[in-house]
């Protein structure tokens, strides 16, 4: 989705009058709505936006039901699309209402410019600021050259104070908070689920061998079979090592929006289990900075891992700059990915940085890695649609987008990878489809 043209001043630099600004907001929201519908698979006619705008002009904004009916008649032409339309219309209507309310109450929040997987929440006190993408992306001069387990990346100044008790629907360029060396809770051990996932993802040959048409001759079995034919070897079976282990790269978004929806205990335990089960794995945490925590995850206990995080000055709860993180990993650890590597990206996709960097980074991973999977905590919701711009940009480059909130999600990934080669993803989750 393009940046909101309605959020800025007029082209000549002068401030817009409230009416014109509101009109721009509504137009922008409408175009975004049509874009969302198309992304969700609704068969919107090519000139749907124009007809929808005409329809809105006729029915007005006083009656939500009339506006819904008018837009539906202009944008939907299949009964099967009505449900999707109704669901997305709620978000559109909130955006429009916010824009119009903002016009009534100066100083309100420009929520229409935020395009998260869920609609942005209107702010009562205006403390949630509009994301300034340019500020978050013009670094480039980072000094990367550290060894593993060294804090790498760019330090941001002047961050915003975090707000307690508020669930972030997007990741502002917020202040990271240092990981406290506290004890983790006693959550379910995700190790069995990680083992199931490992079996499904295995790309590297292990010790066990299995019959294979293009393997090495299995002399022992050939001899055994020859007993039945009087000692004559009729055929030579072949065997090859079965892939039982995984070489991986795990990139974990620890921005505020992710941690508001994902249990940190579960996250740390899964990362530790991956480190233990996979043959080789390198793990990076990122929000606005990037930190490699591979060695810390090999610590004796989860609490030891947290203490190691503390020593590493690993931080979480900041903003999300996925593209920056990918670029950093590419520049500092290019050997972390090869053709046998499985890449897991844990993130909600609510990118606040430059989308082109995100696309470039994912294209690099897509070319270089065996498989790239995106684990999204938000996808655990049945109402989730990957319509935010980060996810929309990422999806062409990933082999599957899955939910990630509990061990059952890992089991479902394993189930899908074992039973159906393609396509896989959250939309094929049996729990989602009943």
């Amino acid at each position: 989705m393009s940046p909101d043209p309605g959020s800025g001043p007029a082209r000549d630099g002068s401030e817009l009058d409230p009416l014109t600004a509101a009109q721009r907001h509504v137009r922008s929201a409408l175009v975004g709505f049509v874009d969302d519908l198309r992304t969700a698979g609704v068969d919107v006619p090519a000139d749907g936006s124009l007809v929808a705008a005409e329809a809105l002009a006729v029915v007005g904004f006083d009656d939500e039901h009339a506006a819904r009916t008018g837009l539906r008649s202009a944008l939907v032409s299949r009964p099967a699309d009505v449900e999707t339309f109704d669901r997305l219309f709620e978000r559109f209507w909130r955006r429009v209402s916010d824009a119009l309310d903002q016009d009534d109450a100066p100083g309100g929040v420009d929520t229409s410019s935020l395009d998260g997987g869920f609609a942005p929440l209107p702010s009562d006190d205006g403390e949630v600021e509009t994301v300034e993408e340019s500020d978050a992306d013009d670094d480039g001069g980072a000094d990367f050259g550290g060894s593993r387990s060294q804090r790498i990346g760019w330090k941001e100044e002047g961050r915003r104070t975090d707000t307690e008790g508020q669930v972030a629907r997007f990741s502002p360029v917020g202040e990271s908070t240092r990981v406290e060396a506290e004890s983790l809770g006693l959550g379910d051990d995700p190790t069995p689920a990680v083992r199931a996932l490992t079996d499904a993802l295995a790309t590297r040959p292990g010790r066990r061998s299995v019959p294979a048409p293009d393997g090495r001759p299995d002399v022992r079995r050939a001899m055994r079979r020859s007993h039945a034919t009087g000692g004559a070897v009729m055929e030579v079976p072949e065997r090859a090592p079965a892939p039982t282990s995984v070489r991986g790269l795990v990139l974990v978004d620890v921005s505020r929006s992710v941690l508001d929806t994902l249990d940190r205990d579960f996250l740390v335990r899964v990362l530790r289990a991956l480190t233990a089960e996979w043959r080789t794995v390198r793990t990076f945490l990122f929000d606005t900075d990037v930190t490699e925590v591979t060695d810390a995850l090999s610590a004796d206990s989860p609490d030891a891992t947290l203490r190691a995080f503390d020593r590493l000055e690993a931080a979480w709860g900041g903003g999300t700059r996925i593209g920056h993180a990918l670029t950093t990993v590419r520049e500092t650890a290019p050997t972390a990915v090869d053709r046998d590597t499985v890449v897991l990206i844990v993130s909600d996709g609510l990118e606040t940085g430059d989308l082109s960097r995100l696309e470039d980074g994912l294209a690099w991973l897509d070319r270089r890695a065996r498989q790239v999977f995106w684990l999204n905590p938000l996808a655990a919701s049945t109402a989730y649609e990957p319509t935010c711009r980060g996810m929309a940009a990422a999806r062409p480059h990933v082999d599957g987008l899955f939910a990630f909130a509990e061990p059952a999600d890992l089991y479902d990934i394993a189930r899908q990878l074992r039973r159906r080669r393609r396509p896989v993803g959250y939309e094929y989750d049996w729990r989602r489809n009943g």
């Binding site: 006619p45 090519a46 006729v58 029915v59 009339a66 008018g70 202009a74 032409s77």
Partner: protein, 305 residues
């Protein structure tokens, strides 16, 4: 294309349109009213889809009646061609004119042109634009849809021998489809879309009360209950609203006993008039004693329950 139609309906309000529906005994929810209002104000064709008997064709008839204008109907069928939908030359008359030898000019003039529904709607002369009903367009071939595109987008028809004929007053276009096949994107893009759901029991009861006012309200409720119960059976052709109305009229015509509120529907009433509701012999045979008992039970149920 002119905007005369647009101008005519520019001042049309939802209340006025709703009153048109009320006057013509058409039970329309807000969704139908709003969508029709948009189609009239924006001057765009209205594509109406839904189950058979949901009231799609009736909508066009109601608009023609309500706005006191003509209804031009084009019933689509497989193999429908331009000469049946647009225009045709009167070959017999042309032949006679040529054989008589008295003509200096061409025989391809207005004099020899036979108007078909689409052209007739475009050249309609009257105070108000007509309602053009293109009924069951999904029955026609895809080639016919292509032919419709020029008519629906520019409200004009190109006749090679005469030139382009443009509507002075674009008609109100209602296109219906039963969704037996998907329509082309190009056609859908030119239309506003309305999907008419099968009526709820309450709406069906209101329809029966309006269309068959001589039927007592309690009997109307019983009629709708029985029809609704029948739809729960695995029938080849479940009864639609049209069948419900036919049955209600049949009960009224058969007089008295059935139309009397104090006399409930009997098995005999239902058996003798079952042909109004079921149009397949297998469906009629499916109504055994057990099903009949269920129908009679449904007939006595309180509609408000």
């Amino acid at each position: 294309m002119t905007d005369d139609t647009h101008d005519d309906f520019e001042t049309l309000t939802r209340e006025r349109l709703q009153s048109v529906f009320d006057e013509t005994d058409y039970v329309a929810e807000d969704e139908i009213t709003t969508t029709v209002l948009l189609a009239l104000k924006l001057g765009r064709p209205l594509l109406v889809e839904g189950e058979p008997g949901a009231g799609k064709t009736e909508l066009a008839k109601v608009l023609a009646t309500g706005f006191d204008t003509d209804l031009v109907r084009l019933q689509c069928y497989e193999g429908l061609a331009a000469e049946s939908a647009l225009y045709e030359w009167n070959y017999t008359k042309q032949l006679l004119a040529v054989q008589s030898g008295g003509r200096e000019d061409s025989v391809f003039t207005e004099e020899f042109l036979l108007e078909r529904p689409l052209l007739r709607a475009l050249r309609h002369e009257g105070d108000r634009p007509p309602v053009l009903l293109i009924d069951e367009v999904d029955r026609a071939d895809e080639e016919f849809e292509a032919l419709l595109l020029e008519v629906l987008s520019d409200f004009q028809v190109s006749i090679p021998e005469l030139g382009t004929i443009t509507a002075d007053r674009p008609p109100i276009v209602v296109i219906t489809s039963n969704r037996t096949r998907a329509l082309s994107d190009a056609l859908k893009r030119r239309c506003l879309y309305l999907h008419v759901e099968p009526p709820s029991p309450e709406k069906e009861r209101a329809i029966v009360q309006r269309k068959v006012p001589e039927l007592d309200d309690a009997v109307a409720a019983a009629v709708c209950n029985v029809t609704g119960r029948l739809r729960e059976e695995p029938l080849l052709k479940p009864p639609g609203v049209a069948e419900t109305l036919d049955w209600a009229r049949a009960l009224t015509a058969l007089d008295g006993a059935a139309a009397d509120a104090d006399a409930p529907l009997t098995e005999s009433d239902i058996r003798t008039t079952l042909g109004c509701l079921l149009k397949e012999v297998e469906d009629v045979e499916r109504i055994d004693d057990e099903t009949m008992s269920a129908l009679l039970t449904a007939a006595t149920e309180d509609p408000s329950a």
